[in-house]
Structure formats: C-alpha cells, structure tokens
C-alpha cells in the first residue's frame, strides 16, 4: 500500500511516497541511489547492508521501509562531514583494513554502532560485536586494529 513516510536521512529531512512494505535496503539502493549500502546475502547473515537507525545497527535487508518512519537514518554516505572523514574511515585506510571493499561499508557502520554504545571496547568485545559481519577477503585482524585506533581518537575529540 502506498503511503507517505517521513524520516531523517544522513541529517536531512526526507519524505517519500511508496509501498511501505518494501525492503529498506533496496529502497536505499535503488530509489535513493545510496549504493554504499551493499547486498551480500539478503538474510541477515553477512552484515554488508548495515545502517544505523536511531543509532542502532540495523540489517537493512531484513526491514520494511516503514520501520524508519520518524527515525534518524545514517548510511555510509552520511558518515563523513563536509569532506572530513570519520575517525573510523581514517582508521580503516590507515590500517589497510579492506581489500575488495565490498564488506567495508557494513563493517564501518557496525563498528560505528558498536563504539556509540561502548566507546572503549576491549578486543574481545570488538570481536563479539563484529562477529556477524563477514569479510571474504580476510581483513578481520586489521579491522579490529582500525576500530581500536578509531576508539582512541574519538575518546578525546569527536563524539558520535
């Protein structure tokens, strides 16, 4: 059923008229052209599609778009502000924490959610919090290092 929904997308108010049962991931990727959020499995197994909704990590392949009504949505495209990379993005580059890069947006968004709720995670907590995100290229150890580096940088300065 077509309905009009309002939400905030990467800091900007949005309004869309669409069948609100449609899948959040595909609305983002096709209707809104935000292709940074990836499809990897469509069944909550890989984490490539993770975004933040009201600062909670959400696997967008599993949610209907009505779920974001009245909420704040952040995708990978909304992470850097005015060309300034987020500490996580910088740390991923610094640690070479990616190869093909296809899992990367989901990894970064999941880490963003993780650090929001636990700004100084231990390695064990990082592993636990990230364990449902898959990377076929095998960047895991570097991603752990990157998250630690970002956590350090964010502690004193920029808040998320």
């Amino acid at each position: 059923m077509t309905e009009t929904i309002q939400f905030e997308l990467n800091g900007k108010p949005m309004e869309m008229s669409l069948d609100s049962e449609r899948t959040l991931l595909w609305v983002l990727r096709s209707d809104l052209g935000l292709t940074g959020t990836k499809y990897g499995c469509g069944a909550s197994h890989c984490g490539a599609c993770i975004i933040l909704v009201n600062m909670k990590t959400v696997r967008s392949c599993m949610y209907p778009v009505w779920y974001i009504k009245g909420k704040k949505v952040i995708t990978i495209e909304g992470l850097s502000k005015n060309g300034d990379l987020h500490p996580l993005q910088k740390a991923f580059i610094k640690h070479d924490a990616l190869q093909c890069g296809f899992c990367t947006p989901g990894m970064i968004m999941n880490a963003y959610g993780l650090l929001h709720h636990n700004p100084q995670p231990t390695v064990r907590e990082i592993i636990q919090g990230m364990d449902q995100n898959l990377c076929r290229c095998g960047s895991y150890n570097r991603i752990i290092d990157a998250i630690q580096t970002a956590a350090k940088e964010m502690k004193g300065g920029r808040q998320i």
Partner: protein, 713 residues
C-alpha cells in the same frame, strides 16, 4: 557454460592475444606521449609470454603522458581486492619518475585498454609488470629526448624526478613533463631493449604503499557493477530450475498479471521478469509456477568420491623419476593413504552482477568480471553482434577468487536488455550465487609412499583425481617417484566446477603435507627436520627455516589441547612455508587456530604491504576450506544456498598471523594472491594431529570428523 574445467585452468594458461586493429582507438585518444606496441613485437619482452601472434598490425597503448603531465595507465586487469591498482601504479611511477598520485589507472575497459585474457592465476605481477615497466622506461626516454631539445643540453646531463627533468649541473634549468607534452601527440613504439631500471635504482617499487582505492571504499563511493544507476533502468530476476540438469515442462505466469509495472521476457526456457524495484521483481519471479523434470541423482556430497573414482577415465603423467618398484624395495616403512576434499564455493561477498544498456546497435555493460575481454567475446557471440559494438566498462569487483572468470550473469543481462529494449541490472541473489558457482571440484588423492628406517623418503607414488595437477609437482628429493593426474572430460560433476583461489593446489598440498607428516611421525623425526632431510631445493629450505625461526621451532610443548603443525608448498612461482598453533577441544571437536606464521619467497616484491595483505587474506580465507566449507547437494540439487549453512571464516576464528617476506628483489616477481592459501589445510591437519593424535583425511575438518578421528584413535 562448460563444465569440468579442472585440468584446464592452471598457472600455465597464459594469455593468447586477441588481435584487433586499434589504430582508430589511438587516433581518438587525446594528445601527449603514447607508448604503443604491436603484439607482433611483444615477444621480445616477456620471456615468451605471448606465444601465438596473430597479426602484427594490432597496436596497443599501455600508457599516456597527458598534456597536463598526469599519466594514464591502461590495463585489461581488474581490481578485486588484490591491490594491483596500487602495485601497477607503483611500477609505472617508479620507472617513469613521477609520484604515485600522478598516475590514473584505467582498468578493464575493453575500449581503452589493451587485450587481456583475465585477472587470475596470480599472473598480473609476473607478466604485466615487465611490460608496464618497459613502456614506462620508453616514455621516460622520449621525455628526456624532448627535454634535451627543449633545454638544449645533452641527454646525459639530464635527470628526471617527480615529473620534472633537470639539468644535473644547474637544477634551476628544468622542464616539466606537462610542458614537454603540451600540444604534442607522439606515438612511440616500444623498442627492443627499453632502458629499465635495475633494482638498486627503485624508489617506489619495494616500498609499502597503502591502497590507492581505499578512500573510495570507506566512503561508499567506490562503484561496483551493481552500483550503476541508469535512467529507466529495470531490475531483472530470472526463473531458476530446482536442480542442475532439470528440464522445464510447464510454466504458468498468470499470477504476474496483477503486479503493476512488471515486464516479462521469454526466449524458449529463458524466462525473466523486470521491475523498477528489485525486490518486487524478486517477489514476482517466485509467483511464477514452473514444473521441471529433474534427472535421477547419481551421487550426493557423501557418495561423490566413490562416483568420481568410478568415472575417472583420463590420466596424465605429471612427472616421474627413478623406478617405483625399486623405491618400494628400498622402503622399510610404507604408508598408503587416501585424502578427500569436498566441493568448495568461492562466495565473494559481492554476488555476480551485471548492468547493461543499448544505445543504437551498441551495448555497454558494467560487469563483476575477472575477464572483461572474455565477457565481451561471449556477449558478442550470444547476441551475434560485432566485437567492437560491445563495450565492457571499468568497475570495482567485490571479490573474485576465480569465481568471476565465468560470466553467465553478463550473458543473461545482455539477453534481457536486448529482449526488453530497456537498461537492465541483474544482481544474483546469494542463493543463485551458490547454485551457479563454479565450485572447486571435489577430489581424491591417493598416495603410496615409503621411507627407510633412518627417515629418508624412498618412494612417492601419487595420484590426484579431479583436482588438477597444479601443486602436485615434487619439491622433495625422492629418488623413485611418479605423479599422475586423473579426471574425465565431461559428466563427472553434477554442476559446474572451476578455478578456486590457487586451483588444485589446496587439495594437493593438503594431501602431500599430511602424508609427509605421517611419515615423519612414523620415522620418529621432528616434522621440520624430516622435511629438511628430504629436500635439496634451496628456496624451499630458506622459507622453511625462516618460518621456523619466526615461530620459534621446536615449540615448547605444555600439557593441554595445543598442537603445532608445519606445511609447505609452491604455487604460481612462489615458495610458501607455514607453521600453525591450534587448540582442540577434545570433547566437542572444536578447533581454534591460535597463530599462523607464514614465510614466503615471491621473488621481487613490488608492494610489500600488498603482499602481506594477501598473505593474511589467504590464511583467513583458507581456514574456511580447512575447517567448515562444504557444499551439500543431492546431485544437481545444490542444498547449500546461504551463509547460514556455508560457514566462512569469522572475526572470532581468525588467528594471529605473522608474515616473513624473503628478500629477493633481484629475482623476477612471482604470484602473491594465491600461494599463501595452499598450506592452510595441511598445516592445520598436522597441528590437529599433534594436539590429539587424530589424523584427518578429509577436508573440511569439521568438529564431527575430528571427534570421529579422535574416537578411532
């Protein structure tokens, strides 16, 4: 699509150039200095890389020094995470004396780039680097010549650095590449002996560099084939059979009539729906009622090995030496074992994807492919249109590992766009990806080997079935040996099989290194010493020693569930040795790999940072085939369709990884994207044995199999 490629894809499959007149293309390029060559002349360069020469009129460009001084590098290779976008730029920048960020990589575009057979077999660095270096050296020579004219100084007195040419006696007297190329268009053919640098002159080659594409990837801006958005584009879903080999009997699409905006295309059994919302297309295709006739199953994931042995009709002698009978007589102890390896999926996180549009009689496509030129060829044949009317564009790949050598999705997307007349995007679902993947073939290895009481290997009778020969060649020094590869041309496997990262070598190395370990234990000799005692190959001895030193071998053994194993092997010209520490829970059969040390001799290392990433990636990925990855099926019906039943390595299983790169800057660069994965099965199997005294003869080494082996004792 051809099945049973098990014997064909090997590192020895080298490019056969495809001749095409590119003079028109060269005319259309802008100004500057363009280094061209005709394929006919190329044999001078690459140690016989390009064997079959078809036409000498074919001109290709490898690089262009543009009028603004920036450099375009054209390569038919693609970037799928292996980092060649960085390492090729390094090679070019070093030889041409420009900084790395002056280089723009133009990759895999079939109109702009020279023909390339595909990005696989760890060939890029080995075979493309020398060509690129030669082209860059040539361009530098042209620039120096121009500068000599411009500055009216002898060439000998000039030096290039960072895109500027100086008078060495008066550095203020200088001219930039941009000034030299402005308003010019120089086509320079490659000469026979381009003035390339010696290793001691390298400034950028051999230095660690961070990945050039990282920025685009962390911001979500990097464009993969499925990220292309075209006006009026529709998303396609195709009707799929329940099993390979199934035949469509009836089809009822009446349920689609009430779906708004749905379009249907059909050509015989090929049936697809299109919609502007991908998930609506997905729901629609599920509403189509289709009946199929499914062929009688001949085997499943448990019985497949027996089936394979029964259909192996072809044999190839890989190598032999001495006399097996004599070897048997010399042996005090013989060991006869059989090793099994199931089907493994590539499972890149990006599924096969293609986007296509027609403009007039020309088709343009963005494809997740390791073989853009092969894709172009396939599209031209399928749609029956001339090659030059098919244009495959550049995009990133979300992982390949061999899976994207096969481009069924591109052919499908091209057909749909032709039938519908609309721009189309086809993104395979994860279920389709598992169904149509060209799996690493299931395989059996039989080994009969013998040693003397003093631990000298005297006999090696080796037969590999259906994996392929890569990696089966002996580097141990065994006087009496024979290595055979068996297979059959058609019909052995229920579905397509193909090249999986280091094809055949994972299977062969697992079997060989397990067998070596068994013999070491029987001889009562430390497995590291046992290996050294039985080899003469200096490069292998060096990597083994380097790994042992880094690891601290022999390990101090404490009581508890820990175990230590060694394995080594050769792949794509590189030598690899690994040592692993594992912890095994004897109650549950769970294995935790704690630490892996990898030493590698890959000749000249262009980007050490990139090489280390590849090693880490290979070991991490390799844990999956070693421990969990196994495709379940009942003949053509593939049961494994997503990551819940196909477990790949996760954060929590990843061990600490230490790498040692042997410094061999003077020897030619070898493959790096595959070799480190070959030892992972064997090194873990040997460590599990050390921890439990249970020997695993089948991959993956699941907890159930480990428990069964422990109980067998």
């Amino acid at each position: 699509m051809k099945k049973d490629k098990y014997l064909k894809i090997d590192s020895s499959d080298i490019n056969t150039p495809f001749a095409m007149d590119r003079r028109e293309f060269l005319k259309s390029l802008g100004g500057g200095i363009i280094i061209v060559f005709s394929i006919g002349e190329l044999s001078v360069l690459g140690g016989g890389i390009l064997t079959k020469v078809q036409e000498s009129s074919d001109l290709n460009a490898y690089l262009r020094v543009k009028e603004d001084g920036r450099i375009d590098c054209y390569t038919g290779k693609i970037e799928m995470g292996q980092g060649v976008i960085t390492s090729l730029a390094q090679v070019l920048a070093d030889e041409l004396e420009v900084s790395l960020d002056q280089v723009d990589m133009v990759m895999g575009d079939t109109e702009l780039c020279p023909y390339d057979a595909g990005t696989w077999g760890s060939l890029t660095t080995r075979f493309f680097d020398p060509i690129l270096r030669a082209a860059a050296a040539e361009a530098r020579a042209v620039l120096i010549e121009l500068a000599a004219e411009h500055l009216k100084i002898s060439k000998k007195q000039l030096e290039a650095s960072e895109g500027v040419i100086y008078d060495t006696k008066n550095r203020k007297n200088q001219v930039t590449y941009a000034q030299l190329t402005k308003g010019k268009k120089i086509l320079k053919p490659l000469s026979e002996k381009p003035p390339v640098k010696t290793p001691s002159e390298f400034k950028i080659i051999g230095k660690p560099e961070l990945k050039a594409d990282a920025l685009a990837k962390v911001t979500g801006e990097a464009k993969y084939a499925g990220d292309i958005r075209l006006p009026g584009m529709l998303y396609a879903k195709i009707l799929r059979p329940p099993a390979h080999g199934a035949r469509l009997i009836s089809l009822d699409a009446s349920a689609l009539e009430n779906i708004e905006g749905i379009e249907v295309v059909r050509e015989k059994d090929f049936f697809a729906v299109l919609h502007k919302s991908p998930e609506i297309a997905g729901e629609a295709i599920n509403k189509v009622k289709a009946e199929y006739e499914v062929p009688e199953p001949k085997a499943n994931d448990e019985t497949i090995f027996k089936h394979l042995l029964s259909v192996a009709s072809e044999s190839n002698l890989v190598e032999e030496g001495g006399n097996l009978k004599e070897g048997r007589e010399l042996s005090d102890i013989t060991v006869e074992e059989e090793y099994l390896d199931g089907y493994v999926a590539h499972a890149p996180i990006e599924t096969h994807t293609a986007t296509a549009k027609f403009e007039g009689d020309k088709i343009t496509m963005w494809v997740s492919t390791q073989t853009p030129f092969g894709t172009r060829q396939a599209i031209s044949e399928t749609l029956n249109m001339p090659l030059q009317n098919v244009h495959i564009k550049q995009n990133f790949l979300g992982g390949g590992f061999g899976s994207k050598n096969y481009n069924q999705q591109a052919i499908e997307a091209a057909r749909i766009t032709k039938l519908s007349g609309k721009p189309v995007q086809l993104v395979w679902t994860r279920g389709e990806e598992f169904f149509y993947d060209m799996f690493r073939p299931a395989a059996v290895v039989k080994i009969n080997s013998g040693i003397t009481n003093s631990g000298k290997i005297t006999l090696w009778d080796y037969g590999v079935y259906f994996a392929g020969a890569r990696g089966s060649q002996l580097f141990y020094d065994i006087p009496h040996n024979r290595t055979m590869a068996y297979g059959s041309a058609e019909g052995a496997h229920p579905f397509g099989t193909g090249a999986w990262r280091a094809p055949a070598n994972n299977t062969n190395t697992f079997a060989r290194e397990s067998q070596i370990d068994i013999m070491a234990w029987k001889a009562g000799v430390d497995p590291f010493e046992f290996r050294l005692n039985n080899m003469k190959d200096e490069r292998m001895i060096r990597v083994l020693k380097a790994a042992a030193k880094k690891f601290g071998w022999p390990p101090v053994k404490l009581p508890g569930g820990k175990g230590y194993g060694i394995a080594c092997g050769v792949d794509a010209g590189s030598y690899v040795a690994q040592i692993a520490e594992v912890e095994v829970d004897k109650e549950t059969g769970q294995v935790q790999v704690k630490r892996v040390v990898c030493a590698q001799d890959m000749g000249q290392v262009v980007n050490p940072q990139g090489a280390i990433l590849q090693i880490e990636g290979c070991i991490t990925m390799g844990l999956g085939y070693a421990l969990t990855e196994d495709v379940k099926f009942n003949w053509g019906e593939v049961k494994t369709r997503n990551f819940n039943t196909y477990e790949i390595t996760r954060f929590s299983w990843t061990p600490k990884i230490d790498t040692v790169l042997i410094d061999a800057q003077d020897s030619p660069p070898q493959g790096g994207g595959e070799p480190p994965i070959i030892c992972v099965g064997g090194v873990i199997a040997n460590a599990i044995f050390d921890a439990t005294r249970a020997r695993l003869f089948q991959l993956p080494m699941t907890p159930e199999r480990i428990l069964a082996a422990i109980h067998k004792g």
